[in-house]
């Protein structure tokens, strides 16, 4: 089936979209101002959206600010990504219960919650696909991720602005959404251009109060999308990046970065593709009832590489190196793609403003002799 039949949705029509998703029993997750940031949260109505707000981002800082218009999606990306919901930070995966001398082992496979994501950007769709590759397309399928992912509805938004931390154009993941969504919106001054990208989306679109688009609307949409492209100033050349890093595992820069890096793991937590986790054993006092809980972990955690009484990556240098080289280099070996989608979150949310694109540039500039 061919989609892409574009239509015009009035700004208030967004409320109909939210209601339609709720009627289909989705929990709608969309942008909301919380703790002075625009984050993905449960949305009950249009009122919850950050209408007229934008974000200002640089390495290590993020501020929200009023816009001089009433745009609903006039901001870039926040600290949370879809992974917060599809691969949640804490997740019960299995239980063990003692029954006399025997043990009952169960794994959790059912999840009722269905999510509809509103406001998803192109880089976020790309990131979700990177996680699909990890959790769905190897020898083992994560049943909980699969359930959530399959039942999710994606309402994408084409970016009309970019932050100084964005570099999706380098990573070829945005700013325009090309596929992987059920519905996509482009926000114009007075309305949205809306199009379906799947049957699910098409069905919802059919019942929305839309009107035909004019060429002028499409031209405005194109211009706004172009505006986002033009605002992107950061770059990271992906060509040969894998080799450039793997051939420089002993570069002096790693040591220098280690003096700044706090090994706090923020970059890995906010990164929409980072997937590392640990299963913890939660035991009651009797020892008879056990929950095996998976929680987000990070290669920056010193105990992450614990092995037989010692730590393999026992300094910040090797931990930072592991992160960067995994993300940008060995990810290709493992999953045939880059682990970075260029969303810039790790740059903004690093409490000491370390910018991976700068690190890469320095390493490339003066390759190590060895």
């Amino acid at each position: 089936m061919e989609y892409g039949n574009r239509q015009l949705l009035a700004k208030e029509g967004l409320q109909d979209l939210i209601l339609a998703m709720q009627a289909l029993e989705y929990m709608v997750i969309g942008p909301k101002i919380e703790q002075e940031a625009i984050v993905y949260e449960e949305i009950n109505s249009l009122e919850d959206l950050p209408r007229g707000w934008t974000d200002l981002q640089t390495a290590g800082t993020y501020r929200i600010k009023r816009r001089d218009d009433d745009a609903y999606f006039g901001y870039v990306v926040g600290p949370r990504s879809l992974k917060h919901y599809l691969h949640p930070p804490r997740q019960l995966v299995a239980t063990a219960t003692r029954d006399g001398q025997r043990w009952e082992f169960e794994s959790i496979e059912n999840i009722e919650q269905k999510y509809a994501f509103l406001g998803v950007r192109a880089c976020e769709i790309a990131a979700m696909r990177v996680q699909d590759r990890v959790f769905l397309q190897g020898d083992y399928v994560d049943p909980l991720y699969a359930k959530r992912r399959e039942s999710a509805l994606i309402v994408a938004v084409n970016c009309t602005m970019a932050a100084p931390t964005c570099f999706c154009t380098s990573m070829q993941t945005g700013p325009r959404c090309t596929d992987g969504y059920d519905l996509a919106l482009t926000e114009l001054a007075e309305a949205f251009v809306i199009e379906a990208g799947s049957d699910k989306g098409e069905k919802i679109l059919r019942d929305l109060p839309c009107s035909p688009v004019t060429t002028a609307d499409l031209e405005q949409a194109r211009k706004l999308q172009q505006q986002a492209v033009e605002q992107i100033s950061k770059t990271m050349n992906p060509v040969n990046l894998r080799e450039d890093l793997l051939e420089n595992l002993n570069h002096d820069r790693w040591e220098e970065t280690a003096r700044r890096c706090l090994s706090c793991a923020n970059c890995t937590m906010v990164c929409p593709t980072c997937f590392c986790s640990t299963v913890e054993e939660v035991v009651d006092l009797s020892g008879d009832n056990i929950e095996r809980r998976r929680t987000w972990d990070s290669c920056f955690d010193i105990d992450f590489s614990y092995q037989n009484g010692s730590i393999v990556r026992n300094d910040i240098r090797s931990r930072y190196r592991q992160w960067l080289t995994h993300k940008l280099a060995t990810w290709h070996d493992q999953f045939d793609q880059s682990g970075c989608v260029g969303c810039g979150r790790c740059i903004t949310w690093c409490p000491v403003g370390i910018d991976l694109t700068e690190e890469v540039a320095v390493i490339r500039e003066k390759k190590c002799s060895e």
């Binding site: 703790q35 280690a258 706090l262 929680t295 105990d303 949310w349």
Partner: protein, 272 residues
């Protein structure tokens, strides 16, 4: 399963709680365990816990929890005796693991401190320093926090009852912040936050209440304190604020102490 619980004919393990210079908050965390407290009471013999019980038994004890720091000559000796009587000795809380808030005296003039507070310092017999228990005796495990997290405390006791080596995260508070969906106050508001160099355990409490972490749980393993202070100084935080930030309940913990001292020395030379 080798758990103590299962070996019916063995006597219940003896639990002791000892207090040195402290506020009682960490012991209280045990009383605050409410439902678990009753189960703990069933699983162990509470042999010495003055705050909770008049029933006092002599050692040796299977598990001893020590709260508080060493601040008097008498306590310096008492801890030796406690160690001798204890099979497993676990220190609980910042006082016991790093000297606590009272370790601020380590930077002051002890005599002058005494005079500032007491009209008759000659009645007192105290040391000039407040030090961690591990500075005096061998400690089997340290549970961080000011106060300790009561879940961790119960988990620790359970671990020891089941002959498990306790294992708690040594990573930064930041992980807990992000896991619980708290937005970073350092990045969004420029609030100085010790979270990136402070060990997890509180659940990312302070940032969740819109304030910076003040380091209750002490430094992370390999804490890069100078990395953080460098950034804060570059972003206009004066040393006069940064030094006290590092000198709170874990002022005596090595990474905080050293960086605090370094900054204070720089500050002094700048003033000259």
């Amino acid at each position: 399963m080798g758990s103590v619980r299962n070996s019916k004919n063995r006597k219940k393990p003896k639990l002791a709680v000892f207090k040195f210079a402290s506020c009682d908050g960490c012991q209280l965390s045990l009383l605050n365990a409410e439902e678990d407290l009753v189960s703990i009471g069933e699983a162990v013999e509470i042999s010495h816990f003055l705050e909770a019980s008049s029933h006092v038994e002599v050692g040796p004890y299977d598990l001893t929890l020590v709260e508080g720091s060493i601040t008097t000559p008498g306590d310096r000796e008492r801890i030796q005796e406690v160690r001798k009587q204890s099979r497993v000795l676990v220190t609980i809380g910042a006082c016991a693991t790093a000297g606590g808030i009272q370790a601020l005296r380590n930077w002051g003039d002890h005599e002058e401190f005494q005079q500032a507070v007491y009209p008759h310092p000659e009645f007192l017999d105290t040391l000039a320093t407040s030090t961690a228990i591990s500075d005096h005796v061998q400690v089997d495990f340290e549970l961080r926090g000011c106060p300790v997290n009561k879940k961790q405390l119960v988990e620790l006791i359970t671990d020891i009852l089941h002959q498990r080596k306790p294992r708690f995260p040594r990573h930064a508070v930041c992980l807990e912040c992000k896991q619980s969906g708290t937005v970073c106050v350092a990045v969004t508001r420029g609030i100085p936050c010790l979270g990136p160099i402070t060990q997890a355990g509180c659940g990312g409490l302070c940032p969740g209440y819109d304030r910076g972490c003040y380091g209750c749980f002490g430094p992370t393993a390999q804490a890069n304190v100078s990395g953080l202070s460098h950034w804060l100084l570059k972003h206009d935080m004066p040393k006069t604020e940064l030094v006290p930030l590092l000198r709170n309940f874990n002022a005596g913990a090595t990474p905080f102490r050293e960086e605090g001292n370094r900054l204070a020395r720089e500050q002094d030379t700048e003033l000259e």
